[in-house]
Amino acid sequence: MTRINLSDLTIKKVHELLQNGDLSARELLEFYAENIKKYEKDTHAFLELFDDAYQQAGRVDKQIKSGKEIPLLAGIPLAVKDNILIKNRKCSAGSRILENFTAPYDAAVISKLKNEGVVFVGRTNMDEFAMGSSTENSAFGPTKNPYDSTRVPGGSSGGSAAAVARQFCLGALGSDTGGSLRQPAAFCGVVGLKPTYGAVSRYGLIALGSSLDQIGPLAKSVEDAEIIFNVIRGKDKMDSTTVDSKIVSLCEIPRSGKNSKIKNFTLGVPKEFFEMNGENKELDRGVVAAMENSIAVLNKTGCVVKQISLPAFEYAVETYYIIMSAEASSNLARYDGIKYGFSAKGENLLEVYMKSRENGLGDEPRRRVLTGTYVLSAGYYDEYYGMAQNVRNFMRAALVDKFKEVDVILSPTTPTLPFKIGEKADDPVAMYLSDIFDGGANLTGIPAMSLPAGFAKVENGKELPAGVQLMAPWFCEERLFECGKLLEISN
């Protein structure tokens, strides 16, 4: 057995090694297990490591020995966010109220990955019910940034992003309601893809905001993210928002380059993302440098980068927090201490509800349920929820127009570099602004991908990753992959 450098591995490389018999799936898993043993204590990416991982790998090895052609993802170690159901495994969504909940069935994405022969290494830490941007809201303690353990890995899919960055696995699944794949990807220096709304089934995903939620991959490279996405996407009768994969592969909006002299992409950079709402204008210098560097790289490859204006997006975060909280207050109503999960004692039924939810839910879920209840309550509905739906339609219409001018939109993924643990813990609004560039893709349904765009030096000489985000029209994920690869090679 040859020594393998995990950081060089890609899904395609591993596939070849496995198929040719140069490496067994069990040996591969051992390499990752070594890393987990060394670094997990300082990272806390996992809530549970699966005891049957070697058995899963063994099954793939058997297939290879019997001379079978194995699928591309067979034997690939992946981690799964703790809000995606794996049959007979615990699934807690990072919450006390589901601490002992055992999944009675496989999520649609898990069935698909099981069919490929993926090796699931464990379930990863997350902000409770995917509510947060730092994993500090996990009921089971925060995950730490792989580049600086005093800083956050982002969230809510922070455990998955940190696990990929730390080489605990080759890729991971996460979910994204308002940036929860992309923001941690940026903070951990990996690739995170939020697919188009309707591209991937959410059957078996613990819901946060049902008109916003998508499952997507976290990976070390654009190619790996693309491979995982192509396996998990497609129509599923258990999620009626999903679309036929034949349609999914068709991007209806033509690329500008196809009928013009421009060989490559035309990218738009929205000026509102730099001067939003008169506040939070100050992008970290490291983030600005990542943007400038990306623009230079794309210019060199023949892309045209131009400034665009999207005034409808100035209120994206406000709109997002109204709609998400409203939907969360409804989705979380099911956690009542009666059917499953944590249950508090009470004198009567109402007291059981009230106390179970008081003690089972953490501060942020309680806050969002209360906020959602507020914006939906009589007298406020039109002012908040109704208004937010109008803005949302306005944003969508603005994008339909804008994508006639540009093929892809480029922006920073986050306004800052990874922040310190505890830094924003007492100010919910400051935390919300960490996703200022991300919620727009969820509100409008377009696909968006964050990818690493270099490192920035901070105090004490440490280097932290910075990310940029690409956004494409509905079901044009291929455009993200193509453009992402252009950026990736040069970075």
Partner: protein, 93 residues
């Protein structure tokens, strides 16, 4: 600023008990959030911006799965059972 009465009304609507000693903090945090989202009142909105097309996707009427197939697994997670039913505290006084 959201007042204490409003907090207590929300608490009862949302079925989340808020202990007296935490009301102040909940009030403070929630007020910050509401102040923040209230800025949406200034957002530019075009009247009648196109709504995305929605259509219903319904399955054939009938049993989605064999009756009772998942019952033991699902009931097994309930905090209290009696004779195959989920047991709750009395509803009426």
């Amino acid at each position: 600023m959201i007042n204490k009465e409003e907090i207590s009304k929300l608490s009862s609507l949302a079925r989340i008990e808020i202990p007296t000693e935490e009301i102040g903090q909940v009030q403070e945090h929630l007020s910050k959030v509401v102040d923040f989202i209230s800025k949406i009142k200034k957002a530019p909105v075009k009247e009648g911006a196109d709504e995305p097309e929605h259509r219903n996707v319904l399955r054939e009427d009938g049993n989605a799965n064999e009756a009772g197939k998942y019952s033991p697994d699902l009931l097994g997670q309930a905090p209290e059972l009696e004779k195959g039913y989920v047991k709750v505290k009395k509803v009426l006084k």
